[in-house]
Every structure is written in C-alpha cells, then in structure tokens.
Symmetry: C2
Subunit: 314 residues, 2 copies
C-alpha cells in the first residue's frame, strides 16, 4: 500500500499520477484545515480537488473545480448583492450540496468522502485527515481572517504573521488514517504547501507519530522549484516561518521525517547541500505536472526512488 | 392597499399584473404549505414563483424558476446517482442557498423573503402566510407522500384521498399578514388551487377570521376555466373533496367569504347560477394570463370589478 499526504492542486496531481500506476493500492490522506462553511455549505476544497483529479473530471489547468463548469449560481449570488468571492461552479455545487446534506444526516466527513469517491468511480481510498472540524485563522498584517478569506478573497496578498488552528481536544484521525500509515510500504508527501497543507495533517493527533513509527519508506516531493512555489504562497510562508528559502527550507521542514526528497532539475545544485546537511537522499528530476501524463511520469519516478531507498535501507 | 392571497403559477401572474398597476400598494400573502427541504435546502416554491414574477426574471411560460436558467447542478446530482426529480435551476439555487443560509442564521422566513424581494428590486411586500413550518402530507391511493413527491415526482398522477397538514399549535400568521388583511381596501384570491394553495393560507390561525372581519371588498379569480384547471390538479381535487365540478365548485369553496368571483368567458353560462345560488357577484372576462400584458389587463378588470362592488356595497 502507498499512502500519500495531500493538499490541493499539487497533491491532487500527484495523487492522480500515482492512482494511474498503483490503482486501489493508493490511499490519499487529505488536508481539511481549509474546510469552510460557504453559503451554508460544507466546503472541503482539498478533498474535492483530489476527488476531481482522481475521477478525471477536474480542471487540471485551473487546479480546482470541475472542467467545463459554469458559475451561474455564483454569479446570481453576486447579482443579489451578496459576497461571492468564493467561486463554486454549478456542477461543483452538486458535490457540496450532497456533502452538506449527508453530514447533516449524521454521516462523518470520511464516510461522506468515501461515498462521493465511490459514486465518482474512484477505486482507491480518499480519507480526510480527520472527521473533526479544524478551524484555521490566518493572522496577517492586515488583520486576522479565515483561511479562505486569506487564500481566495485576498489572493494570499496580506503578509502572514501566524497561522492559528483551533482543533478539538477530542480530535482523532479519521478511520483508516493511522492504519494506512502503519501498514504502508511507502508514505509520500505531496508537493503541497508545507505550512498550510502538510503541517495540519501532521498535527492531527497521532498522525506524525504513526508516520515516525511506520516502517514505510518516506519521500517528499518539493512544492518549491527554483526558489518559487509552483502555486500559492508556500515560498513566502516558509521564509516567514523561519525556514531557509527554496528547497533547502523544504528539506529543513521534513528533516527527521523523510528518507528522500524529490526536487526539480532547476534546483539540482542544492542536492548536495540537502544530502550533507540533512542526511536526506535526493532525487533530481522533472517535477512539473503540467498534464496527467506528466503526473504519471513523476509518480513513476517517485515510486522508483522509494523502491531504491527501500532496497538501500533494507 | 390591495391584498392578494396567492399560490404559485396563477397567483404569481396575477400578482405581477396587479403590481404593474398598483405598485407598492400591493401586498402578496403567499402559501408556504408546499415548502420542503430538498438537497438540504429550504425550498419555498410559491414564494419564489411570486418573487420571480414580480421582479420580471421568472419563466412566464414554464410557470416556475428563472428564465433562461440551466440545470447543471441538478444534472450532476443525478449523474452521481442521487434522486434529482426536484429540478432547481443553477440561478434558482442561489436564491435557495441564500434563503437556507439566512434561516440558519436566525432570520424568519418573512424576514428572508423581504430581504430577497428587496434585493430583487421588488417594491411591494411579499409575505409568506406564516413563519412556522407547515408539513403537507398527501394521502393517495398509492400511499402517503410529501407534497413535492405528489406534485413534482409523481406529476399529480396518484388519486388523492386526503391532504393532511401538520401545523404547529403555536402557529401565527407572519408579521403583516393580519394587518394587511384588516386594512386592505380589497382582498383578492388568486386563481390558485383552492385545496392546495388557498386553503392552507385560510387555515393559518387568525387569517380567515381577519378576512371575514375586514371591511375590504373580496374578490376571487377562478382557477378553473371550462371545467378544467389552468394548470395542476385543482379540477380533480375539488371534485374529490366534494365540490361540484367547474366554477360552481369554486363559488362553493368561497361561499360566504367573497363578494365577487371572476370567471372566464368559457363559463359565462354559469354566471347566473353562481349569482342566484351563492349570492356572489360575477365578472365574466378573459382570465387567461398568457403574458404579463394579459395579466396586467386581467388585474385591471379585477380592480375595476372590486371598485364597482365597493361602490354598490357602500
């Protein structure tokens, strides 16, 4: 079994690539710290991005939502004078309506996610990191705001001082999370934002410990290429949170947790530094997943790297 | 002030016609016994039909929903294998999402309706008959079902034995309903289904009494023309509930409550019977509201009839 810890865009792409290669042997554990209630609907952006990528209906280029979706509902909300900066497409709305309905009927988020995945024809498991609500507040120089306000409404423009998460003291990982991590042969960290997407998964009670204890080979794919985040504010946030710039900061973030780091050819000259400073094996390859084919190719590279590392170690 | 008691299609058309003539002097009191929770959304079909007709965005021909709307969300719900017989258009969804959200935030249905009307640029008052939930169960030869199941899913096909309404013992008319009826110069009953649309309004605690006490001229427009309901099962239901067929049954239904009944030229030969048997004045005219212009014309006829009746009476 292969476990992938995933955020949104980058994570969903690697998930799709891995799914094409290992099928139902894949388990995707998805960040839910970005979840929010929008227009009264329970929105789980990373979970949906993963579901859409796996089922092949996602908009690969845009990175979120459903390909060819329209925004008539969203536009109407705006026309009626309500805030509509969070864009949910009309087809996307169906998924969010159904999720909200099933949650209200008493199903857990992981049950709902499993049900949606099944109905989308996805054969591998997609598990939200937890069934508990995680509230993310972003403290910026321009005030404290919800995650989606910071990310979507403000387009990550405000300078971030702190990311606060309110998590239930009773919180537990969703059923299957710890079991998957424990029994996995490989655990992959997707090229997702370390601060905003990976850390919330690691902070889920018991998850980091399960990863540390697991006998799996652990490999991360850098979301930073040539010093820049592929998408979103990961590069700025890493520096703001005290990490060195670029892939070295990514290695710092994962230090002690991973066996290998996959970095892009653009960062080839830093491979040696990472190996010597952090004791992390490095694979230098093309990491840009501009298409599903490219994602499949990278997934193959990552899988082979993990096999090599497993062989070396074992 | 002019008060109109209204159901969906026919009521919304007469509401639009009256609105064009008397503007903000109109108050529309709308049936909510058809309200239902669909996909977790609070759907108020008659209220929306009235709002859409008044604001001019309604689909006049179809009689429900918004003109030019698409059904991408609805189609996606079906594609995911969920029931989607209740069709909410993508633009229509915006209204239902916002209503549900505002209700959850603690606003009453009448406050929400007022807010939506205002945002749609409607200058007259649109008031749901009550802010309390009314549950309608239709007992048919094929089993007991919800109103929308009977009306939309089954297309009113099953033979109706009984219509049961579960209403709160604490129920009261929405704010403004009794006041409008009391102070109105004229109270009109729209050409809506007497059993399914008008009766639930009359059954709202205090409403029928307010109408009886009101000094207003009271005029109903028959929803039945040439023995047939313009739309829906009114003709069959009236007979099933013991009324005589055709406009005579309509007069029977309103007996003691109205001063005048407006019937179509198709039923001209029954005018004398209605006058002599029920002591109700009759206006024979063209009642088919095939366009907003036709609705405006009928509204003018109804207003003039009410003025004449008022003059006679006073």
């Amino acid at each position: 079994m292969i476990a992938l810890l995933s955020g949104g865009v980058g994570g969903s792409r690697l998930a799709a690539g891995l799914y094409d290669l290992v099928g139902e042997r894949l388990v995707v554990i998805v960040n839910t710290a970005d979840d929010e209630v929008i227009y009264g609907l329970y929105v789980s952006p990373d979970v949906d991005t993963v579901l859409y990528a796996l089922s092949g209906i996602g908009d690969w280029e845009r990175g979120w939502g459903i390909r060819g979706d329209t925004f008539r509902c969203n536009e109407t909300i705006g026309r009626l004078g309500f805030e509509n900066w969070f864009k949910i497409g009309d087809m996307d709305l169906a998924v969010n309506l159904l999720r909200t309905k099933m949650l209200r009927e008493g199903m857990s988020l992981s049950e709902v996610t499993g049900e949606l995945a099944r109905r989308m024809g996805i054969r591998c498991r997609v598990i939200p990191m937890t069934d508990f609500w995680v509230e993310t507040r972003v403290v910026t120089k321009e005030g404290t705001m919800s995650f989606q306000e910071y990310f979507v409404k403000r387009g990550t423009a405000p300078e971030v001082l702190e990311v606060r998460r309110v998590r239930s003291p009773d919180e537990a990982p969703a059923p299957g999370v710890v079991e998957s991590l424990t029994s996995a042969q490989a655990i992959f960290f997707a090229p997702s934002n370390p601060i905003l997407s990976v850390r919330p998964i690691l902070e889920t009670k018991g998850v980091e410990e399960a990863i540390r204890r697991s006998g799996a080979v652990k490999v991360a794919v850098s979301p930073i290429v040539g010093g820049r985040a592929m998408r979103g504010p990961a590069d700025r946030l890493m520096v703001a949170f005290g990490y060195e710039p670029g892939v070295v900061g990514v290695a710092q973030f994962y230090e002690g947790l991973i066996d290998g780091l996959v970095i892009d050819r653009a960062d080839e000259e830093l491979a040696g530094t990472i190996r010597s400073r952090f004791g992390i094996e490095v694979l230098v390859t093309d990491t840009l997943m501009t298409s599903r084919e490219a994602a499949r190719w990278l997934a193959g590279e990552v899988l082979n790297f993990a096999v090599r590392l497993g062989g070396t170690r074992g």
